[in-house]
Symmetry: C2
Subunit: 564 residues, 2 copies
């Protein structure tokens, strides 16, 4: 490809509403242009990247045994009513009336359409398992479209749906898709994590998200340095603590006249924050509960709600606190309650000795507290806190917390759609069986933006090679005036092409400064300069996109470097 025959238009300015670096860089590189709110045209440059991502996704889906098909973007209301989602999906569902006033939606996802296809196509267990996928435009009517293609309304998605006779077979395919997704993101050259999104529904981890790691990511992810374990911070499990030390101090009441937070109390007493205990007052249908976490930890509301008896918990009011503990917030603790309470302790708290709690008396805390000696063992011990950066993970590694952008999702759906849409096949015994389903999505257009969030510098995008619009740029100096430069560039281009390297020749005739700035901005991994001076010296100037400096290489060195 010669850039003079392509269409490239870079710009310096970006609109004020482009908050994310990927949005700004995609606009500056001319990869996308806005047509309307949340609607983007992909320029020739942008589409090259999108298609490279699409091709890798397709190859790995095919390799994993899924079969590609394609469903309409416009889908009838009746189908969405069968599943109940016509009403439940909410305002993100773009509803449409045709000339005959029949109602449709623009597909934001296609469980209904694929189940309808499946019930027309599949009638026997012999046809199962099968995994249908499509790479198709989707629409979600976001209330606040922003961040460019990161949260556009119209976007490109790969969605796959598998059908199984048994739950075990669904779990097998779920793992197969998990492996395929890992290959996709590895091949794309992205730093990613598969993150536990939920648990338990059907088989093991019934739902996992794939995140591209980037500081600008919307989600906080905890992962361990010791294994593949990763989870949203909200669901990440803390490691079990070691055994409880023996009591070493006497229990004593200490005056904390204005010290209400654990930090203030620890500072006053001159002890580590880790020796204090935070008390959170809750009400449930079964009465008052005091949840205890270490002073340096945060209560995790999702974990709390999973503790038996706390499913319906809410925070206690000041009146309720006064009624049960006879105290006011800031001085609460498990000792000296005036009415019966239950105590739920985080596992770390249950393993503490000689700790500090509120005295249930304004202006006082109690130090040197020990379980069993000074108060009964907790009514229940559970993991009820957020994990923190640097702590020991269950697998012996360390917990790291990073931010991620969700680009994929694998999900054991079960029989929600097949049941509501009355899809059955005959099983081995000739009886009607409702197939189990899995669904597996990848946000193709979103990957493009996420990759930029992860890979850029002040000069522009730094594409991982498999996603780059071209792997190599051959920059020609004065190509119109200098036939030797043009010939040498063409020869090099032909050699690269013969070696299967996707190169572009910048023959636009720009001066070196603007030309190099363009090539850096659009993120080409390798830059070669062909100039009169270089040819005279028998050298090509080469620079990797991430390298500090250029170097002069002979043709052989250059080809060896690029082939490597």
């Amino acid at each position: 490809m010669r850039l003079s025959r392509f269409h490239l238009r870079t710009t310096k300015e970006t609109p004020a509403d482009a908050e994310l670096v990927s949005h700004r860089l995609m606009l500056r590189a001319g990869m996308i242009r806005k047509l309307a709110s949340g609607l983007y045209t992909w320029s020739p440059l942008g589409l090259r990247v999108l298609r490279k991502v699409e091709a890798i996704v397709r190859e790995e889906m095919d390799r994993a045994g899924a079969v590609e098909m394609q469903m309409p973007t416009i889908q009838p209301r009746e189908l969405w009513q069968e599943s109940g989602r016509w009403e439940k999906f909410g305002d993100q569902l773009l509803k449409i009336k045709d000339r005959k006033e029949a109602e449709y939606c623009y597909s934001p996802t296609a469980e209904e359409a694929v189940t309808d296809f499946a019930r027309q196509e599949l009638s026997s267990y012999k046809q199962l398992p099968v995994n249908f996928y499509q790479i198709q435009t989707k629409f979600r009517d976001e209330i606040r479209p922003r961040f460019g293609v990161m949260r556009a309304r119209e976007f490109l998605m790969k969605d796959a749906y598998s059908f199984h006779i048994t739950n075990e077979d669904l779990v097998r395919e779920y793992r197969n898709m998990h492996a395929a997704y890992s290959r996709v993101f590895s091949r794309l050259g992205l730093d990613f994590r598969a993150v536990q999104a939920d648990s338990g529904a059907i088989g093991g981890d019934a739902s996992q998200e794939f995140h591209v790691l980037a500081d600008s990511g919307e989600d906080a992810i905890a992962f361990s340095t010791g294994s593949d374990y990763a989870a949203n911070v909200e669901t990440a499990q803390a490691a079990a603590p070691g055994p409880r030390p023996a009591a070493g101090e006497d229990m004593r009441k200490v005056a904390t006249p204005t010290q209400k937070t654990c930090e203030e109390v620890a500072a006053l007493l001159g002890i580590a924050l880790q020796r204090t205990v935070k008390s959170v007052a809750l009400m449930t249908d079964d009465g008052f509960v005091l949840a205890l976490v270490r002073g340096d930890h945060m209560v995790n509301e999702i974990k709390l709600a999973k503790v038996p008896g706390l499913a319906d918990y809410r925070l206690a009011s000041e009146a309720e606190i006064a009624e049960y503990l006879g105290s006011e917030p800031g001085f609460l603790g498990p000792l000296n309650a005036i009415k019966p309470i239950r105590v739920v302790a985080d596992r770390d708290v249950a393993a503490m000795a000689d700790f500090v709690v509120g005295a249930n008396e304004r202006g006082f805390h109690i130090a040197g507290v020990n379980w069993a000696r000074d108060l009964p063992e907790p009514d229940r011990v559970a993991d009820i806190r957020n994990v923190v950066e640097g702590e020991r993970a269950q697998d012996g590694g360390q917990i790291r917390i990073v931010r991620g952008i969700e680009v994929g999702h694998v999900f054991q759906l079960g029989r929600k759609y097949s049941e509501s849409m009355q899809f059955t096949v005959l099983d081995e015994n000739g009886k009607a069986a409702v197939p189990a389903m899995g669904c597996y999505g990848i946000g193709i257009s979103r990957i493009v933006a996420a990759a930029i969030e992860q890979n850029h510098d002040d000069n522009g995008i730094i594409w991982p090679e498999p996603m780059a619009p071209w792997t190599v740029a051959i920059c020609t100096i004065n190509p119109k005036g200098d036939a030797a430069v043009n010939d040498a560039a063409q020869q090099l281009f032909d050699e690269l092409q013969a070696a299967g390297i996707d190169a572009v020749m910048d023959d636009r005739g720009l001066r070196p400064g603007p030309m190099f700035a363009d090539i850096e901005l659009i993120g080409i991994p390798h830059r070669i300069v062909v100039s009169e001076r270089g040819l005279a010296a028998g050298a090509f100037e080469y620079r990797a996109r991430r390298a500090e400096n250029a170097e002069n290489l002979s043709r052989e060195q250059l080809l060896a470097r690029l082939a490597g």
Copy 2:
């Protein structure tokens, strides 16, 4: 590919509303399934064909220098109002309101969106010419969707739009696209014609349609056996006739008491129909006109309206005929008018001698009529008739009339959109210039149906090789019970793959009858049978889809045949 790992589901029955053979065969082969009126899911089998067509279109567009990009399917009302098409497009335009009550449409074509993109991207003549194309889903809200994907509401289209400083450059690109389209349809292996759709607007033939020829086609097309000339029957030009023979008969009045049509008069007189002349009475703002065509010809209304003075013509009433000719229909002619009339003669009529016309008197015609001798030369001579099958064409060939399905269109748009949307670039002199535009469409999904209309028999589809889901089917007899058969089939499959031949192995374990029926129905061009008996004899049974009988070939013969 092994069919056991694919998803294939053929059926015997088709719905009553499937009128076209392509619709029936696509349903029977399981290529498509209906989701709703005019909305079809492409099964894995159907999508393979669609993607093969798409790939060939993309390759030829790229080769022709067009650059691919992609516009949203959902486009804002404001843009369509700029061109005036929001109101003018009619009910085929699917209009949509989003959650904020803003109005959009589902793109049926993208002149507005591409012009908006161009005016953001292009500012100088140096960036022109450029030809942007996309392969993207379109929607037209047909009032009566039918014929399967032939006239679906949602369909796949390749649409291209070029921009030029001069009309000459537009004409150059128009010809370039015309050539690219010819390559596309040739490579697809289809019998097609480029048909003149209109003429004159900007450069030469300003608009041409590409038709796949098939008996079921909606349009009648006239083409010449002597050149590339082809046109819709309504616009096809008749060849100029030879010189007028000398008069040989005396003029005489003949009694035709009940004979009103040329056929009846010719039969009564015992002469060839070609010696009679049909008179058609017209009124215009400038008075009465008698249009004359030969008795065996049909007046062409479109050509008639192009004759100077006839732009506003209508058929004359019986009262007007009585007023000007003093006669009643069935006996009209150019002689003996009672008020002044103009005579417009088809070129063939002007070249006749000794012909028969109505006498303008009930029950009589006049025979042996000759121009100049018996009546003045016609006021105007023009081509005002439909061409007919078998006549001599302008280029010396013969006219053939066939039916066609429109699958492509190239069009010199001119400045309609760039002007209404105020798109200018700076020309060489630094002045604002409004670029000329061309647009070029190919109906990708429609091509699939059109190819079937052209290529099928009682047993099913007969794919041209470049469009076939697979080129070769290897049918294995008892593959589960016979390891030798399975191994031999796998080895053959590997050899074909190594030779770049797209093969599928039918390892579903069906009995030969149903298996062969499936393979014929889905139209695979080459079928090979691997069986125990064949292996014992050292032969493979081979049959081309169009062949009457199978033949036994050795491995070497088989590979040579398929490579040929």
